[in-house]
Symmetry: C2
Subunit: 309 residues, 2 copies
């Protein structure tokens, strides 16, 4: 698959996912809800519909497609993981956390609204993710829905994404004297596998769940998802060193500015790029059993490694 | 059932739920988790194990007992709803929200740790609630587990608890000029049914789900849960007017101090107490079909209405 075709496919998915999210964030309350306050719905829309590559939904959708699965259930699953991703951005941007004013070139949610609204919008996005997965239209099969809930909860909780964000703040010395802790590359890889890798992995895993993958297929896709996650973060570190705020739509060079250890700084850029190449190969070879059908996922790994934003 | 017996039963449940939570917040990572950072686990324990009546877990446990159900699945369900309750307290106490320094007579989580840790501890508590419900030991039946997830998510999200907290801040004029908005009693009742009522209702509903209630039983227990929720909040408003910080273990008189509308202020104390009595009767009569078995739940309604803290 050509990278121009891939880019247009990614853009198509982003547009589709936006439409699904808009419908899910309707003004009307669902059965069992009492009322959806306007400010909550609007801030959720602001936080979740301000662009973004929609990479996690893309992984859900393209993994499910390996098994010939598409339609409403797959799209709802894709939307649910994006809700978790977006909540994590809203909370991470808060003044008490990373204190970022810009996200995708726009004011962060607490800048656009206020901190209280941003905290609650994040809480609501996290909660609605599980509501979406638990609701019948996601799959007629309760076992499939509960497997999706478990996959998403475990990837995003204390032993995954939330834990990773805490380790990241700890690495910055935020709970001590503010001096960054010297982490080894093993520690950095683990931190990143929690903070970013776990949710990318979950995108692939949830696609495999809703696709009805066998145990062997789950295992192969798991190897793909893990390699992709590490590649994503190394590419992110390279971008943080090399890009500027105008391209990224958010602050860059922050890691270097605070003297924080990254793989790129430990290994050097050349070695980091070499490792990135190996990871793309690992990701591609994990997909060997799926033949041509998996070309989009192969291209996704290359995209993740070589993206410029 | 005598109220002394009830008090000791409530205390027993609280102790049992503490034990379940301690096990769930173990240091060891579960399969699919990468690592549980010490600071996350400790702050979760701090936030969730600092006492509390454990009323929501009690409702789960005693409702399930109506159907002869007890054991690990019921206790895990009880622990899950308490995780959501505790997360909401941690986030509501944050400086950007209610800015409270004390909770149950102890420093709030952001005072004990810091704001970033408190935000993440709350996020982790919310996420782990769904992990607990989704995991096999909660019930061998996937349909039961997914019904629990849906009940909890819908009660605690944008159209329930989170939405209610936002409406509460809005009622304080927090998103405008700081002048409290004059709410009607209908508006106050709705706000409270979201902020507090929805999760109490969910405690009863989740007990009914794991107990295997029929549609008619669900309906009757729903009426009980709703009446209990309203009674809880009127009692809370009365306590806020009449009690002091030493008894409550948290700041009191805040509503009056900021000129905020409450049912007690709109109706007067006497009318509020009268309505409380009617709600207890409503709650009790909803249980008519369950006979003596439901005496604990009847006593729970009286306890909620007459508690002194």
């Amino acid at each position: 698959m050509k990278s121009a075709d891939f880019a247009s496919r990614l853009a198509d998915v982003a547009k589709t996912v936006d439409g699904v999210l808009m419908k899910l964030f309707a003004d009307e309350a669902l059965p069992g809800e009492i009322l959806r306050p306007q400010r909550v719905v609007e801030s959720m829309r602001y936080a979740a519909l301000a662009g973004g590559k929609r990479l996690r939904p893309f992984l859900v959708i393209e993994t499910a497609r390996l098994f010939g699965k598409d339609g409403e259930g797959v799209l709802r699953t894709a939307a649910a993981i994006e809700c978790v991703h977006c909540y994590s951005l809203v909370h991470d941007d808060l003044p008490a956390m990373d204190n970022d004013d810009l996200r995708r070139g726009q004011p962060t949610t607490h800048k656009k609204y206020d901190e209280a609204t941003a905290i609650l919008a994040g809480d609501a996005l996290l909660t609605v993710a599980f509501d979406i997965l638990a609701d019948e239209p996601t799959s007629p099969d309760a076992a499939t829905r509960i497997a999706l809930v478990k996959s998403l909860a475990r990837a995003s909780g204390l032993g995954g994404m939330v834990g990773g964000q805490l380790l990241d703040l700890e690495a910055e010395g935020r709970f001590a004297d503010g001096t960054p802790l010297p982490l080894t590359d093993t520690q950095i890889l683990r931190l990143q596998s929690m903070k970013t890798g776990a949710l990318l992995f979950a995108g692939v895993e949830m696609g495999a769940i809703i696709g009805g993958a066998s145990a062997a297929e789950h295992e192969a896709l798991g190897r793909y998802g893990r390699a992709l996650g590490v590649a994503f973060q190394i590419a992110d570190d390279l971008l943080d060193e090399e890009s500027d705020a105008a391209t990224m739509g958010k602050a860059t060079g922050k890691d270097a500015a605070m003297g924080k250890g990254t793989l790129v700084r430990l290994w050097g850029k050349e070695a980091a790029r070499k490792r990135l190449g190996e990871l793309v190969e690992e990701a591609e070879s994990a997909l060997a059993g799926f033949g041509d059908k998996a070309d989009v996922l192969r291209e996704a790994a290359r995209f993740v490694a070589n993206r410029d934003r």
